[in-house]
């Protein structure tokens, strides 16, 4: 019985091993399909290079240090942009989730800006900050921040009314209700929101790097396109997917570690 808990993700009766086995076989199955299609020469290699060619290309890029350099700069940018966005969104989201005055002042504005397409900010950010790292961070920020604020606001609003009433019956001052009850109660859900928004941050980083950059994973994809090096494009797409999957799994793992509260596992 844990009616006050947010429901934890369950693997519908599967053991962890079974779950991983099923997930892995889907990946393997798709890879085999990819290999079969290219081996049977159903598609021109320019449009869909064979997996072997992509892996060879990736190996070359890794050996030359290019891959690591591109990954390094992109990971730095996304971490910086995401952390800045989170650092600003967290206090604002908590305030507008808890206090109606702040909600009235900020929520409609955030909603308004949220609906402006992030890509439409690209020209403006280039005018403002050139093609520096700052421009990438700004795009990641614009793409992530406004969504984060609204998600965090909702997380804070979902804190059970009775938890807050408990604090009131104990005559806790408002700031302690906020720090001792509201924050710890909303934290697991906020962590999940951050995990989801980190996925979006990746998208906006690559968009920014595709349009105007001189380094990074997105930049390498654009240059590869100029030379019709689709094997490089596919290789980098795989890398992006793997990085996304890895960060998501890491966030999930850390979330379970931080917020298990003695759950039997």
């Amino acid at each position: 019985m844990n009616e006050q808990q947010t429901p934890r993700r369950r693997t519908a009766g599967l053991t962890t091993t079974e779950f991983v086995a099923i997930s892995a076989s889907v990946f393997i199955g798709l890879a085999l399909l990819w290999w079969a299609v290219t081996a049977a020469q159903l598609v021109k290699p320019l449009f869909l290079p064979p997996p072997g060619a992509v892996l060879t290309r990736l190996y070359e890029l890794a050996a030359s240090g290019q891959l690591a350099a591109d990954m390094g700069i992109s990971i730095y940018r996304i971490l910086a942009g995401f952390l800045i966005s989170t650092a600003v969104a967290l206090p604002i989201g908590v305030l507008i989730g808890r206090y109606q005055t702040f909600e009235a002042a900020i929520e409609p504005l955030v909603d308004f800006i949220r609906y402006m397409p992030v890509v439409a900010f690209l020209p403006l950010t280039i005018v403002w900050t050139g093609v520096s790292d700052g421009q990438k961070l700004l795009i990641v920020f614009i793409g992530t921040f406004f969504q984060q604020v609204l998600l965090i606001m909702d997380n804070v609003k979902s804190v059970p009314r009775d938890f807050i009433n408990l604090g009131r019956t104990l005559e806790m001052p408002e700031h302690r209700i906020l720090t001792r009850i509201v924050l710890p109660s909303a934290l697991p859900a906020i962590w999940d929101s951050l995990r989801i928004s980190l996925g979006w941050a990746w998208t906006w980083l690559v968009v920014a790097e595709l349009v105007a950059a001189t380094s990074g994973l997105g930049y390498r994809i654009t240059t590869a396109q100029r030379f019709f090096a689709t094997d490089t494009i596919f290789g980098y797409l795989l890398v992006l997917g793997l990085l996304g999957l890895a960060t998501d799994q890491l966030m999930k793992f850390l979330g379970r570690r931080f917020f298990a509260y003695g759950e039997v596992r």
């Binding site: 844990n2 006050q4 019956t169």
Partner: protein
Amino acid sequence: MALPTLSIAGLGKTYAGRGNPVEALCGVNLDVGHNEFVALVGTSGCGKSTLLSIAAGLEAQTDGRIEIDGQPIVAPGRDRGVVFQSYTLLPWLTALGNVEFALIAAGKSSADARTIAYEHLKLVGLTNFARAYPQQLSGGMKQRVAIARALSYRPQILLMDEPFGALDALTRHHMQELLTRIWERDRTTVLFITHDVEEAVYLADRVAVMSNRPGRVKEIIRIDLPRPRRYEMLGTLRFQELQKQVLDCIRAESIEAEGLAEVLG
């Protein structure tokens, strides 16, 4: 006669609502004497939880007066211990931590809080579960922790809002026996809300029956069963008589509330 601990006179509560105001309580009169256990029974939606909420200071009445030891209730306070139906244990704290939480809020040092919290877990028989987190506890155990927490800071009165309502019948009986034992030791004044007639008769010195909305106290029945109350008393003739008396009083209300007058009236 000494001043009652809780004194309610002509209490009314009307919710503004959109266009059509809802009158939840109208002219409620009830005194709960010092060291007295009063059970308030009523059909669902009769306003009994609203009444408790006003007594807790979480809501304001729109009419009449409500006083604790002669002082009007205007805000929540630690002179009243509240036990909510939803157990409201903070999931990130252990059983011991949840009791300590209230004691720290009440200004105890952490050493004192630990000692007192432990004593109160002992009172409800949960010392073996002091280090357990709420989601490792059964519903009955959680509510025992909540009772320990509400008693720990020595309130003038315990306000209990259908505390056993979410428990299965067997556990509910154990909880009633436990509460009776605890109460007969300290005789902390209790206002206990329930819709379970047997529970009310078993626990209380007096049972106040509420009318349907707008709720008011329709009748007060003195329970002259001897103390200590024991489980075996449930089978006695006097218990059955009293139970029947309360049931007769509430039956008409319940039939009306459920819209069954046509069939059962």
